[in-house]
């Protein structure tokens, strides 16, 4: 189960790994927000290319990444199929046209605009998926906290995030241990052999010890933090944050350019919206 998780606690040695937490976090959030804000394929495709290059550049564990990519791809395709099933002529609303390519019945038609929209949507979601996969595999909890602090998040919230991040592997391990010990006592968790109701009840039996052990830790950790003077001062510096490297200085310029692009996109979307949400080359 542990190998399913994507958390790095030791920084790696590739180009992206060596950047400061500040640069990583800023770049990541800008790309994600840009992808949320736009439906324009002319923005989405470059983002997608950057995300794929980013993912390949950190030399990730192949097996794990390919498995999750296939899973996410299938889930997205299934979602698109649902959209098509509920409203086959969705492209009319989003792109403003409906050129029928072929039709199964009067209702279930396939239009080129719908396909265009589905393609844009698939690239958009896959790009944001690759960005988060890259980000999670090249940042450590402390760097994430430092990075969040650099985008003006209060440091207590940063502490929450980095602590939570730090305790996920521990809690996963506890969960696995409790589950295995319950199974040795004869609890059947196989989804084929037990009903949904029984399984839910069995999860409760795992849950009670898990909750008690997890929250028992809280007192100890809080005392440890208090003893080291946490929360006494208004601000906090981060040990994990090293000085800017040369690459960080160049990427700071990229961050400003991306921020300008993002603001331009939002302004365009809010004040000068086109008649249709999705830009489509053949139905302007």
């Amino acid at each position: 189960m542990d190998d399913k998780l994507f958390i790095t606690l030791v920084p790696g040695n590739t180009f992206l790994d060596r950047l400061t937490g500040k640069t990583k976090t800023r770049l990541f959030f800008l790309f994600i927000f840009m992808l949320v804000a736009t439906w324009d394929i002319r923005v989405i495709i470059p983002c997608f290319v950057v995300s794929v290059i980013g993912l390949l550049s950190i030399k990730p564990d192949k097996k794990k990444n390919i498995a999750i990519t296939i899973f996410v791809l299938l889930m997205n395709v299934f979602n698109l199929f649902l959209v098509w099933f509920i409203e086959p002529d969705y492209g009319l609303k989003m792109c403003g046209g409906s050129t029928v390519l072929f039709q199964f019945t009067d209702y279930f038609i396939v239009t080129s605009e719908s396909l265009w929209y589905f393609g844009a949507r698939l690239f958009k979601f896959m790009a944001s998926f690759f960005f988060s996969l890259t980000f999670i595999q090249c940042i450590t909890p402390s760097e994430l906290a430092a990075g969040l602090h650099s985008i003006f998040v209060p440091y207590k919230i940063c502490m929450v995030v980095s602590l939570a991040f730090r305790y996920i592997p521990d809690i996963t391990r506890d969960f696995t241990n409790i589950k295995i010990s319950m199974q040795t006592r004869g609890m059947e968790l196989d989804s084929k052999k037990t009903k949904v109701g029984t399984r839910l009840k069995q999860y409760v039996l795992i849950l009670i010890p898990l909750i008690i052990t997890s929250f028992d830790r809280v007192g100890n950790i809080a005392n440890g933090m208090d003893l080291r003077g946490f929360g006494k001062k208004k601000d906090k510096t981060y040990y994990a944050e090293h000085e800017d490297t040369k690459a960080d200085k160049y990427l700071a310029i990229v961050v400003w350019i991306l921020l300008a692009c993002f603001i331009a996109l939002v302004v365009k979307k809010t004040f000068f919206p086109g008649p249709y949400e999705v830009w489509c080359p053949w139905c302007l």
């Binding site: 998780l5 958390i7 889930m75 299934f78 979602n79 995030v161 849950l207 929250f215 809080a222």
Partner: protein
């Protein structure tokens, strides 16, 4: 210790609360990934929704909301399936309501949790889920992704039913068990 209304609505913020929220968010993320049964795409009958109730019982409603919202973001991050901020904010609202029952007289830390509190808790959970997933999530989905609302509605109603039922069916016995564990000196009388 008597708490003021502001403290009841926002929770008390000290180092313990910060750690509690962090552990809650981590627990939420882990349970979201491993402790659930899939219902439809993007929603599942997950035991994670019990976490806001516990955090709410121990620390107050705003910590509960943060644990649920941040927990959802972290779950998205470690699961690696991309971000759904609209759902995270829905969770935030839902978590706030699930943790609010302490403001109405229940006190898990002192072992006070009666049938009346359980009823208040159940009503709050239904209101919170309906508000979070029925209003906040679809509105944000429409504003940010301008995505098709039909599917969001299907997912939202599945989420409301499954999460409210987890909160109530699993939550109430768990809260009774926790209250009983924390009850101090209930059988002692002052002489």
């Amino acid at each position: 210790m008597k708490k003021s209304l502001g403290q009841k609505l926002l929770g008390t913020w000290n180092t313990k609360t910060i750690v509690g929220v962090a552990v809650g968010a981590a627990l939420f993320a882990v349970l979201m990934n491993f402790g659930g049964i899939k219902v439809t795409t993007n929603t599942s009958l997950t035991s994670a929704y019990i976490v806001p109730a516990i955090v709410g019982a121990l620390f107050g409603p705003l910590p509960a909301a943060l644990a649920a919202g941040l927990g959802n973001v972290l779950a998205d991050l470690i699961g690696g399936w991309g971000f759904w901020f609209d759902w995270s904010l829905g969770n935030f609202v839902c978590g706030y309501f699930a943790g609010l029952f302490g403001a109405f007289g229940a006190d898990i830390e002192d072992g006070k949790f009666a049938v009346k509190d359980a009823i208040i808790y159940a009503v709050l959970c239904i209101v919170g889920c309906a508000l979070g997933f029925g209003v906040v999530t679809p509105v944000l989905t429409y504003a940010w992704y301008s995505s098709e609302l039909t599917i969001t509605w299907i997912q939202a109603s599945a989420a409301i039913v499954s999460d409210a039922s987890v909160l109530i069916i699993v939550g109430i016995p768990l809260l009774f068990a926790l209250a009983k564990r924390n009850a101090k000196g209930t059988n002692l009388s002052k002489e």
